[in-house]
Every structure is written in C-alpha cells, then in structure tokens.
C-alpha cells in the first residue's frame, strides 16, 4: 500500500523526520517497505516570469530573456520557440540538478551570459499525461497566477514523500489512507482527525427518484448504496488530486473516475461510477449471472459468465461484474451528464473465486477479497459526493439509495488489564491501555471496549493484548527466562538417537549427506524396471503437482539416489559417496505410511564389498550382530550376480548391490553405480547402546591359514557357518582374506583363503590340538562342499 505523506497529513499531523516516522510505523506493526521522494533528483528549479525577450547578437535562433525568479532577475539564453513575455516558466538556476544526473551551471552561450535554463516537462522527467496543460515540444508554461521563485517540486506535487507499507492480511482496514493514518496517530501519539462530511446537495429531487435498487443475490451482496450526480462536467481533476493518485500508484483519468479511485484509496471502499443514461429502466438489480451470459468489461474483453458470478444489471442487461469491473456499455465518457455512484459490499470468498476463474484481478476485487466493513459503504459514497462538490464536477442529488440486510454491529470486549499484563509479562497501567485503544478508533464504556466494525480481527482478550503491546513496544517487554512453574527434561528419544548414530556412522564412512525431493515422476518406476504388480506402483498421486516430474510421492529411494549419481558423474565428479536418511510414502487408511529409509549411493573406484562394508558398519554401530546377506538374482533393479538382500530375524530389511547396467543407462548414471537401501524402523527395536567390556585374552592365539577350492556358487557365509558349527570352543575367529578365480583354478570353481584364529581362555594351546581342529575343518568342508585343499 503506497501512501503519500501529504494525504496522511489530512488525518494526522506528521512532522517527524521521514526516517523516524517510518521506524515508528514499522515497530508498531505497519511495516514500511521503503519510501520514495518523487522529485528527489530535482533541486534548484524555481518558477520565474519572462520580463523581456531580445534577439541574441551572435545567433538567429537563440533569444536572450530577463527572468524574474522572485528575489532576483536572471539573464537566460534560450532556443525554445514557444516563449513569450509574461509567461511563467520553470527555471533551472545555477548549480541546480535535474533527473538522470544532469547538473545546470551558469555559463556563456555564443558569448552571452546564461544564468540557468528554461525547462520542458521532459527535462523534469514528467509526462504530458500527468500534466495535460503542458506543451509537447517546448518550455513548460505554468499557470498565470503561479507565485514567482516557488520550488517547481511544490508546484508539480513532486515534494511529496510516498511511503510503501506492507499490510498483513488481517488488517484490511489498513489498505486505506485513513486506516494507516489511524495507526500513525497511535504510533506518534497524536489525535486522529476525522472530519464530518458536509454536503450541499444542489441536484434536483432525491436519489430514489432516479434509481430503484434491488438485491436478488442476497448471499453474495449484503449492501448496495447508490448516489446520483446530475449536471456532470467531465474534465481532468485538479493537480492535487492527480498528484496524490499518481503517487499512490493510480493513473488519473477524469474527475468522476478519479473520485471513485480517490475514495477507494482514502476509505478502502471500492466504488464504481455508471453513466445513468445507459442504465435502462432506471433499475439496478444485483443478481447471479445466467450461464453463458456475456459481458464486455472495461478492459475491452468479452467475458463469459456462469451462475457463480454476481453481476449488476439494469432492466435488460448486465452493466458490471459485481466488485470486479464495470462494463463498457455503461462507462463514463466525455459526454456523461448524469452519474450513478455505486458503493456496495460483496462476499469476499465469491469475489476471490470469481476473479480467479475469470482471470481478472482489479484494485476493487483485491480489496473485496480481503473482507471489508459493510458499514463503510455509506460513508464512502458520501465522501465521493463531497468530492464532486469540491471539484465542481456536478450537482449532488439528495439522499442515497441504500439497500441492505443486517449490518455488522460493534463488538463489546471486557478490558481485563490484569490478564493482558499477565500474558505480556508487563505492568502497563490501564489508563495507558485505554489511551492507545481510543486512538485506534475504539470506544471505552466503563470496563468494556467497543470495537468498531472496521476491526473484525479484534475478537478477544489476546487481540486487545496485541494492540496494547504494539504501542507499548514489543522491544520494551522485559525478558524473563523462567518458563512457567515446572521443569522439563530435554533429550533425544531412542529412535532419534538411532537415527543420529546411523547418520554419524555414515559420515564416518566418508559419505556426503544428500537431500532429494520427496516426489518423483512415475516414469522413474518404468526406468527402474519395476514390474506392473509391484507394491512400489502403489503410490500417492498429487492432485495439483508442479509438473509430471513432481507428481507422485516416491515409494523407493533408488531413483532419487541414481539421479544424484548421474548429476555428479555428468559434472565430471570422479567419485561419488552419498547417503540420505529420508522417507518413502505409501498409501494407507489414514494419511500415509511414511517409511524411513537409509540410502547409500557409490560410484567410481568402489565395488560391492565397499558397499557391504557400509551396511555392516551401520548394523554394528547399532549393536546388531546377526544381520544376514542373501544373494538375490531376481531384483530387476540390480545386477543379477551382485545383489543381496539384507535380513534381520528372517525379514528382508534392505537390499544392496550394483545397479543393473540397463537401469543405470536409463538414468544416465555411471555403470559402477552401487546402491544400498535399508529400512530404519526394524533397526529401532533391535538397536542397543549398552556395551560390556570383554577381557583382553591372557593366552596367545594360534593362527592357521587354509586355501580351498570349491564350486563357484558355494557361498562363503555357508562355509563360515559350517566351520563354526564343526569346531566349537577354541575357534575364536574365521576371516576370508582372498577370493580367486581363473588362472590355475578349474573353470566353475573358485579358491577361497581363510585365516583361522584359535585360542583357549585358560591355557596356551598345543599345536596338536590346533592341528586336530584344522583336520576336522577340512574333513567337514570336503564332505559338505566337496572342497579341496589348494
């Protein structure tokens, strides 16, 4: 909301420095976005009267003028063709500045002294539209009665400072000069000047002689006020009004239209003006449009309506879209003789929906959407009539046709000073509270506050507390860290700790944490080769997505991670090490089943076992020791020979492996893309952070190595399990340290090398004992796996 200071001054005395004023408004809740002094670049330009004009001795197109600028007479050389003796014109004096960084200094032109420059409107960066009496090409000739030596900024209304305020949506009353002035009055602690409206009403007859008003769509329009102006003379409105409108961001048009806009800005009530000549049957009816009813609005576009839209119609046709825009068929023209002013109240939700549906938002609809005060409509129309008389734009007819149902009534709230101070933690005297509330337009009746209807946001004690606190100063409230009367303990829950340990473990593994979008394109599931009947195809679809790429909630993290790998490899990052602990989303009876998933992605200088090591690090960090890995050759996303399911208590809790080559190609990810996904929730239950010290062994261990050759499909995990079962007690550990295929090894076989650690708790083991165990191991392996010693 742009508010010229000069306009605010109609309602409150503002003599503070502009910076101080802005700061006071901001800290009391009417935030200043910025301010702008229209003529800030112009200085030293004054009005002057041409006393004499004579030819320049050294030029046939230059003239020399003596110009009276009030306190002195300047000699000025000019080449302008339109200057005449007696004209009053703008003079840029010595050392003056003009827009676009121009500085004027005195000097000689063809040998004759020139103590300044006569200005055109272009040189002052103004337009003919703003100043219609200026001439197109030549010096700007000012009004005959202009005083001499006057600052041109004052003459042109450029001395006004325009402040832009951010208005919060609960304060629709502040989308007006009066609303902001009321805030200023409380912020500056000065009275609010609300002048009563004085009307002469010289028009013939009464308003209801000219027009009959009815409201059919009572649910969409709660009030309709109509006023009549006769003997209208359409002309430009005066400079002061044009300048205020322009400064507030509205284009001046003509006196009648300008008055409606002026009232909208000043009072926050949208208005419309019809040419009564085109209102057929002297009737206004507010009704719903018919389906497919057509109207050409003031922006010269044809609109096709339906029953949800409210229109203003005469006896035969729609003449306006209620609250949004008038129609061409009844607009004010240069020939308008009789005007009908409309000031009405429309349903805010309906206006919002209609404006959106029709794709047209006007100043008027923007205001109605916010929900206005129906009581303001009558005041606004009277103010418009007052302006008509002030501008001599026509004769106001007595009375206003005012059709309405019940109007809002002021709310009464008890002023509970004790409770307000309790809530704020302050000690504000009740008299101070009352003083602020009165400045804001409230009335005090003993212990009650009567809240005016333009403040529907105030409904209870907390709202009053805010009004009091705003002007007491939020920053004057004394801080106190004693919260209530009870003590609470802050901690992370078990699950939150599990997540933190997982995160910290993955960081320690050298992985970078990523954040990916929770929604994906369903096409990603095709790219992953997920079968049509997979549960991953059962996803939540967003009704209004930003696009196909963001249209469904992900049911797998793999495509998100593959995209990260692709993004980095395509930017020549040689090695990728990433993880994310995030959610997948699955349909559920209530809301959704949101599952937390750990995802790891690797590429570049890594293999399956690097990835598996990370999985093992996760489970170990949570104290979970019995995780199993079982080969999975059926998963369409992964390499058939390099994929394992992760099992905990015989339940698949995750999958890891190299991504299938055709899948990585689909995602433009590297061939050596390795991905691990693991559900978090099964880990919560099993994770334990209790840890008991195991004594360091007192007796030495015996080490034995053994290399065997077995069929390639024999699983090492099975060998280890079998060995552990075969030799109990003294076998402390079995470690695989080499796998080898090819070379001297028969095709279809592989060589596995294990290191066995034997130890007894109570003695040093004899060689014999260890040899016996090794024999047993070898016998068992050759029996169970057809293993041969290498």
């Amino acid at each position: 909301m742009k508010a010229p200071i000069s306009w605010l001054r109609d309602f409150v005395d503002i003599d503070e420095d502009i910076k101080r004023f802005c700061n006071l408004m901001t800290v009391t809740g009417t935030k200043v976005e910025g301010y702008n002094q229209a003529g800030a670049e112009i200085s030293g330009v004054v009005t002057g009267k041409i006393l004499t004009l004579r030819a320049h001795p050294n030029s046939d197109h230059l003239l020399i003028a003596d110009v009276d600028v009030g306190d002195k007479v300047l000699q000025i050389v000019t080449g302008a063709p339109n200057v005449k003796i007696g004209q009053i014109i703008p003079i840029a004096t010595d050392n003056s500045t003009l827009p676009k960084g121009v500085t004027i200094k005195k000097g000689k032109l063809r040998g004759e002294l020139s103590e300044g420059m006569m200005c055109s409107i272009q040189e002052l960066n103004l337009t003919k539209h703003d100043y219609p009496d200026a001439c197109d090409d030549g010096i700007w000739v000012l009004k005959e009665d202009t005083p001499l030596g006057m600052d041109i900024k004052k003459y042109a209304g450029l001395d006004d400072c325009v402040v832009e305020f951010e208005i919060t949506p609960n304060r629709q009353d502040c989308f007006s000069i009066k609303g902001i002035a009321r805030e200023a009055s409380a912020a500056l602690d000065k009275p609010f000047k609300d002048k009563p409206i004085m009307l002469q009403e010289k028009g013939k007859g009464k308003a209801d002689d000219y027009i009959k008003v009815g409201i059919t769509a009572t649910d969409l329009c709660s009030r309709y006020c109509a006023g009549i102006i006769t003997d209208v003379i359409i002309e430009p409105s005066p400079d002061w009004m044009r300048s205020r409108l322009r400064n507030a961001g509205v284009r001046p048009v003509n006196n009648i239209v300008d008055i409606t806009n002026y009232v909208l800005l000043e009072c926050g009530q949208p208005m419309h003006a019809f040419d009564l000549e085109f209102i057929e049957g002297n009737t206004i009816n507010v009704r719903r449009a018919a389906d497919n009813e057509k109207i050409i609005t003031l922006d010269e576009k044809e609109r096709i309506l339906d029953r949800s839209v409210v229109v203003i119609s005469d006896a035969k046709k729609a003449v306006a879209l209620g609250g949004i825009m008038g129609a061409m068929n009844s607009e004010i023209t240069d020939n308008t003789k009789t005007v009908l002013f409309e000031s009405a109240m429309f349903d805010s939700a309906n206006i919002r929906i209609s404006a959106k549906k029709l794709g047209m938002r006007s100043e008027s609809s923007a205001l109605f959407e916010k929900g206005l005060d129906a009581n303001n409509a009558l005041h606004a129309i009277n103010r418009a009539c007052e302006l008509v008389e002030l501008l001599n734009a026509g004769k106001v007819v007595k009375g206003v046709v005012d059709v309405h149902k019940h109007l809002p009534v002021p709310v009464r709230i008890k002023l509970d000073a004790k409770r307000i101070n309790q809530l704020l933690g302050t000690d504000i005297p009740v008299a101070d509270m009352k003083s602020v509330l009165v400045k804001l337009g409230m009335r005090i009746d003993k212990d009650d506050i009567i809240v005016p209807t333009f403040r529907p946001d105030i409904t209870g004690c907390a709202d009053i507390a805010e009004e009091v606190a705003r002007f007491y100063g939020y920053n004057n409230i004394v801080p106190s860290l004693t919260l209530g009367k009870s003590v609470t303990q802050g901690y992370r829950t078990h699950n939150q700790n599990v997540r933190k340990v997982i995160h910290d473990t993955l960081i320690a593994c050298g992985l970078n944490e990523t954040m990916t979008y929770s929604f994906i394109s369903p096409k990603n599931l095709d790219k992953l080769g997920i079968s049509e009947d997979s549960p991953m195809r059962d996803y939540l679809t967003i009704k209004n997505p930003l696009g196909e790429d963001f249209s469904v909630m992900r049911t797998t993290m793999i495509s998100s991670m593959l995209k990260v790998l692709a993004y980095n490899t395509n930017r020549s990052v040689k090695q990728g090490r990433f993880f994310e602990v995030s959610k997948t989303y699955h349909p559920a009876e209530i809301l959704a089943d949101e599952r937390e998933v750990i995802t790891v992605g690797l590429y570049g200088d890594c293999d399956f076992y690097d990835l598996k090591g990370i999985a093992e690090n996760i489970s170990e960090s949570l104290g979970i020791k019995d995780v199993e890995y079982v080969a999975d050759r059926e998963n369409p996303v992964f390499h058939t020979g390099r994929c394992a399911n992760i099992l905990l208590d015989n339940l698949v809790i995750g999958t890891l492996g190299q991504i299938d080559y055709s899948v990585s190609k689909e995602f433009d990810a590297p061939e050596d893309s390795y991905i691990l996904t693991m559900d978090v929730s099964p880990l919560y239950e099993r994770a334990t952070f209790t840890n008991t010290y195991m004594p360091i062994p007192r007796y030495p261990s015996s080490l034995r190595d053994l290399s065997i050759v077995v069929d390639r499909d024999v699983q090492s995990a099975d060998i280890v399990k079998t060995v552990k079962k075969a030799v109990k007690g003294i076998l402390e550990n079995v470690t695989l340290f080499d796998i080898y295929t090819g070379g001297q090894i028969e095709e279809g076989s592989k060589s596995l090398s294990y290191s066995f650690t034997f130890r007894a708790k109570d003695r040093t083991l004899e060689d014999q004992e260890v040899n016996k165990a090794m024999d047993k191991i070898m016998n068992t392996l050759s029996r169970e796996f057809d293993a041969k010693v290498r």
Partner: protein, 338 residues
C-alpha cells in the same frame, strides 16, 4: 715397550682414517685378534725378566684399553655419521599435502537443524515429529487458519484429495502434541514442508522449518522474548541483538516478526543484510487462545508461545549461499564444503 708405542701410534693413525665399520672390524682383528699385534707383543713379554713383567703387563693393559677406547670412539663417529647421512637421504618435501582420510559431510540444512536441536535440548525441550502427509484438519483448521485463507488454495498447497495434503508448515505437529499431552509442553518440531512454488533461486516446493512450542501456566511474552534472545545468541553469536516487530499469523496473538542483528557486519550494514543491519529470520507469538482451545487446552488456565524459522533461509544467511537450488542439487563439490 718401544714396540707398544709404535704399535699404538700406527693403530691410532689407521683407526682415525677408517671411514666404515668394515675397516674398523678389520683393524680390530689386526690389533686385538688372537693373532693380532697386541697379542704378539704380549707374547714377546715372556722373555722379560720377572721384575720387569708387572710394569710391562700394565703397559700392555693400558695399550689394550687405549685401543678399545680408540675403536669405540671411531665406531661412534662412524655410526653418527651414518645416521646423519640416512636422515639426510630420507628427507621429504613437507609442503606436499598430507594423505587425508575421506570424511563425509553433513548436509548444511541438517547442520542447522542439529545445531538448533542441541540448543533447545539444553533448554529442556524435546524433539517432536509428525507426518508430512497431513489432513486439512491439522494443517489448517486446528491452527485457526481462516476458512478462505489463500494458503488453503491449490495454488499454494499440494493436495491428494479434499482432506489429505502435504503439510505446508510444521505447526500441525504442535497441534498433535497439544492434543495428546498435557502441559507443561516444551518441544521443537523440525521437518520437511511443502508449498506449490516453482523452483527458483529463492523458492522450492520442498523446504524445511523448525518450530518451537511452550505451553504451561503463566507463560508470558517476556518468556518468548527471553527465549528468542538466548536462541539468537547461541545461534549467531554472543553480540547478536534481537528486534521484534508486530506481525500477523493466524496461529498466534500477539504475533511478531523477529529480526536479528547481522552477524557479518554486527548491525552496521553490509551486502548480507542488504545494508539494513538486521536480518528477518523468525516468526513468533503467543499461541492463539483458539488454537489452545481446539487442541483441548483451556486458555483461561494455560498460555504458551511458539516461534518458527525457515531452515533454508537461515542456512543461506549463515553460510552465505545465494541460490536455494544448491541444497537439492546434491553436487558433491557443494556438499563437501560443509
């Protein structure tokens, strides 16, 4: 006797000129070995008269000691020199970078969330979580959002159907906690939220918020101010100043926007704070009585405060990041900077 002196002189000359251990060992054999020169001299002593023998014996022992001393001195010099040479040979270019371990990096948004979590855990708060796929009831109705509030529009909010949506704020978690727990309540709610904004340098359809909520008897706005000041100092530095401006949020009344003094220029004005000296970082206020009532808490007995901040905005300000998209592109060269 003359023989011994001659031998010692020769020996001394030869030992001192020896440059390696091998030569020393040879000389040891030559002089002290079984067939060495000293032995030869001693053997010759058997021919001496008995009264001369003690003196000769002493001279011989002195000579042996002298030889031993010469050898050990020479050995030390040679080995010291060898060590020195080895050290010299093994010299490195110490300006070559070290061999670093790959340490992973926590996402900057997680870093901000963690830091805030830790501050509030220290103040007796717990971390509350809730669903991202939420109901209209919790996301809007319970939070006092007016029926035709534009934030409810499909233009702003992602819907699955008329009842189900992606939460636009973490506040529904507060409503859920208030419904299920009696005061005292002190929680913070970090999490992912969603708004239908096209992606650009300052907007993302997915972002993160952290909100705090305290409900108890006698909670005042003074408590809110104190908590905000403490938080700002912990988060942005000891000298940080806090400034509250009245604002509007449906959820709170009174409501405030909170600016903190710029941690780069300390309030003097710089590009980070756009020369304002302060940066707007939080929304805050006293919990609206309607919200308390909706969640089954009697506003005549209890009061509370709440505040919230955008994690992305904060991280951008703290780390000097100028484009929000970087958080979700996951470029390793970005992630590894934090």
């Amino acid at each position: 006797m003359l023989q011994l002196d001659v031998m010692l002189k020769n020996a001394e000359r030869e030992i001192l000129s020896a440059t390696d251990m091998k030569k020393i060992e040879e000389l040891k054999v030559q002089y002290l070995g079984k067939k060495g020169e000293l032995t030869q001299v001693l053997r010759g002593m058997s021919a001496l008269a008995p009264e001369d023998r003690p003196a000769a014996g002493k001279a011989a022992n002195d000579a042996r000691e002298k030889l031993n001393q010469l050898f050990s001195d020479a050995e030390k010099i040679i080995s010291d020199k060898a060590v020195k040479e080895r050290l010299y040979e093994e010299r490195l270019d110490v300006t070559v970078p070290g061999r670093k371990q790959d340490i992973g990096h926590t996402h900057p948004l997680t870093q901000v969330i963690r830091k805030i979590e830790n501050i509030f855990i220290g103040l007796g708060y717990q971390i509350a979580e809730g669903p991202e796929v939420e109901s209209v009831h919790y996301n809007f109705d319970q939070l006092n959002a007016p029926d035709n509030h534009p934030s409810r529009d499909e233009q702003d909010t992602f819907y699955f159907d008329a009842e189900k949506l992606l939460r636009t704020q973490t506040s529904p978690v507060q409503a859920r906690v208030m419904e299920n727990n009696a005061p005292p309540i002190r929680i913070i709610c970090p999490g992912r939220v969603y708004r239908a904004d096209e992606v650009d340098a300052t907007h993302s359809p997915i972002f993160h918020q952290i909100e705090a909520l305290v409900v108890d008897k006698d909670i005042t706005m003074g408590n809110l101010v104190a908590t905000l000041k403490l938080f700002a100092k912990e988060m942005f530095g000891e000298e940080t100043e806090v400034r509250l401006r009245p604002h509007y949020f449906p959820f709170t009344e009174p409501s405030a926007e909170v600016d903190v003094s710029c941690w780069v220029c300390k309030g003097k004005g710089c590009p980070v704070c756009k020369y304002e000296g302060f940066i707007e970082i939080l929304g805050a206020g006293m919990v609206h009585p309607n919200v308390l009532r909706n969640c089954g808490i009697d506003p005549d007995i209890y009061s509370g405060f709440a505040f919230g901040l955008g994690v992305e905005r904060t991280a951008m300000a703290v780390f000097g990041i100028n484009d929000l998209r970087l958080f979700y592109e996951n470029d390793a060269r970005f992630l590894s900077q934090f």
